[in-house]
């Protein structure tokens, strides 16, 4: 497996992507805004298709669409007249509709669109690896530097604002990082399934602990395990990498729910 250069690139990219999505997903789950990942990822489809139509770098065009969707959903929701789920639904549909339109305008066959939709271990080039690595490094640095502020704003946004923490800036910064983080993860996990990898590690970790430090550490470990395990399954079974990663994550999540319920039952009996 490691003799194949494409597989080594996919694994390195997978490690970056899993750490990035697990840490972003930690805050997404704490803020109870899991559905936003679906909206941002699907809005990116419009950018992917536009990039292919115009022949410009797909990362750049997808990032523009994702950022517009992420920040747009945030802005519309903050105005208070439209609920978050409604805003996500609108941006989701707009991105997909534009994507379908741009693909229809592109003459000829567009085979690699499937790899963007469902992820492919063959899709990661050396240039992609640099982009994924640099984006992951920048976002992880920002998340680490402002960790306590993101934690406080996730716990109680108004209280954080009242105490002088720049809550609005951090809210849009998180949405911006989420948008770019999702775009660079698309090649590995795919547009359709990237939101699952965003949420699954933290959602599973929450079944095991009520301490945020433990949840974060478990999220990172689980994210790595899903991605590396899923990529290996993809290689051996010749299946789309996104599907393999997410199915592995869902299985662990379901098992965690069962074990966590059993543990809660045992504790209840003791007391």
């Amino acid at each position: 497996m490691f003799e194949s250069a494409f597989m080594v690139r996919a694994l390195i990219a997978g490690v970056f992507v899993s750490i990035l999505l697990s840490m972003l997903g930690f805050f997404v789950v704490l803020r109870k805004m899991s559905f936003i990942g679906v909206g941002i990822a699907h809005a990116a489809f419009g950018g992917v298709a536009l990039g292919q139509l115009l022949g410009v770098p797909v990362f750049a065009s997808a990032a523009v669409f994702s950022l517009a969707a992420g920040l747009g959903i945030g802005a519309v929701t903050r105005r208070g007249k439209i609920k978050e789920d409604t805003a996500i639904g609108i941006f989701f549909a707009a991105g997909m509709a534009l994507g379908v339109l741009f693909l229809a305008l592109k003459p000829g066959y567009t085979a690699d669109i499937m790899s963007y939709l469902f992820g492919s271990i063959l899709a990661v080039s050396a240039a992609d690896l640099w982009i994924i690595g640099i984006v992951a490094l920048v976002i992880l640095t920002l998340l680490t530097l402002f960790f306590k502020e993101f934690l406080a704003t996730s716990f109680d946004a108004e209280l954080a604002r009242a105490s002088g923490i720049p809550e609005t800036f951090l809210f849009y910064l998180l949405l911006g990082m989420l948008s770019v983080g999702i775009v660079v993860s698309i090649k590995i996990v795919g547009i359709v399934l990237v939101s699952a990898l965003l949420v699954l590690p933290a959602a599973t970790a929450r079944q095991w602990s009520r301490r945020y430090g433990v949840i974060l550490a478990l999220s990172l470990i689980l994210g790595l395990a899903y991605t590396v395990g899923g990529l290996m399954l993809s290689y051996w079974l010749d299946i789309p990498s996104g599907a393999a990663i997410v199915i592995l994550g869902v299985l662990v999540f379901l098992l965690s729910i069962v074990f966590s319920s059993m543990r809660a039952g045992r504790l209840a009996k003791r007391t």
Partner: protein, 299 residues
């Protein structure tokens, strides 16, 4: 002991689209004061606190802070127990009170943790430092919120309806704690509340907010007369007293009379001027006071 004003509001007005929340408000908040902000729902109590905090920008007028940084204002909002499912301990929440002092990027150190622990101790939660927030009762979570506010070493503490939903004993304990902390730490405290019992027992000043305006700013003894109550709560409202302490506002409206002979009532009417606890007699429908929802909800 009152000192120079920490915050001064001059002709402050707040308008939301077609709603006026505050109108030409002038108010000084002296250092070391304990002030209750009372009034009916929609009177502007919460808006006033949020203007002081800087969460709401006035549409007109000026808010001046004198030797007071924003990080020196502690705030305990309504229903401040926090999301009980959030994966944090009491200590984690109290420690969040230190974040504004640390500034961006810097992590809390040993001293910050010690201060957070000390504040939890002060509010009577020294034995619950490591407990998950969800494992604490509503009243304990309220105390954690106060510990968080105090951990920021505030000069001014703002509490918005801090005891809504608590029972009478819990309220008394809570306000006694606030009074003790105010004296011990030399804080200025503003409590927005519809709990009238708070006013004479725990604060030096009363600010009565009606329709976004400051109807009255006086010491508690000057507030309790019929004219003020009629203007604050409307002419149909009456005060229910516990002993000599006004407890809540009620509005009389017709209900089916119930024979209560021999059971003492604890209420008295300001209009009737009765002051002593007297045996109850069946009350005619038109005079029987019953509790009004309008004074029990949120601002």
């Amino acid at each position: 002991m009152k000192g120079k004003p920490l915050v001064s509001l001059e002709n402050v007005a707040v308008h939301y689209e077609d709603v006026t929340a505050l109108t030409a408000l002038n108010l000084d908040i002296p250092a070391g004061c304990s002030m209750a902000v009372i009034g009916p729902n929609g009177g502007g109590k919460t808006t006033l606190l949020k203007v002081i905090l800087g969460l709401i920008k006035p549409s007109a007028g000026k808010v001046s802070y004198h030797n007071l940084r924003r990080s020196e204002i502690g705030y305990v909002p309504q229903e401040s127990g926090g999301d009980s499912s959030f994966p944090v301990s009491a200590l984690d929440v109290a420690l969040m009170g230190r974040y504004p002092l640390l500034g961006l990027i810097r992590r809390p150190g040993r001293r910050d943790r010690q201060i957070a622990r000390d504040m939890l101790e002060k509010v009577g939660l020294g034995g619950h430092v490591r407990r998950h927030l969800g494992a604490l009762s509503g009243g304990q979570r309220q105390r954690v919120a106060i510990a968080r506010a105090l951990a920021g070493e505030p000069k001014l503490l703002l509490l918005d309806e801090p005891t809504s939903g608590a029972d009478v004993e819990a309220k008394d304990n809570f306000y006694s704690l606030i009074r003790d902390l105010q004296k011990e730490l030399g804080l200025s405290v503003i409590i927005a509340s519809h709990e009238l019992a708070v006013v004479p027992r725990f604060t030096d000043d009363v600010a009565c907010m009606v329709d976004g305006g400051l109807h009255l700013h006086a010491c508690p003894a000057d507030v309790w007369d019929e004219e003020h109550f009629q203007r604050i709560y409307g002419s149909q409202m009456e005060a229910v007293f516990h002993g000599k302490v006004p407890h809540r506002m009620v509005s009389p409206h017709p209900v089916t009379p119930v024979p209560l002979r021999g059971i003492p009532t604890i209420s008295r009417s300001i209009r009737s001027g009765r002051k002593e606890i007297t045996p109850a007699t069946p009350t005619p429908p038109s005079q029987h006071p019953s509790e009004s929802d309008s004074t029990e909800g949120k601002d």
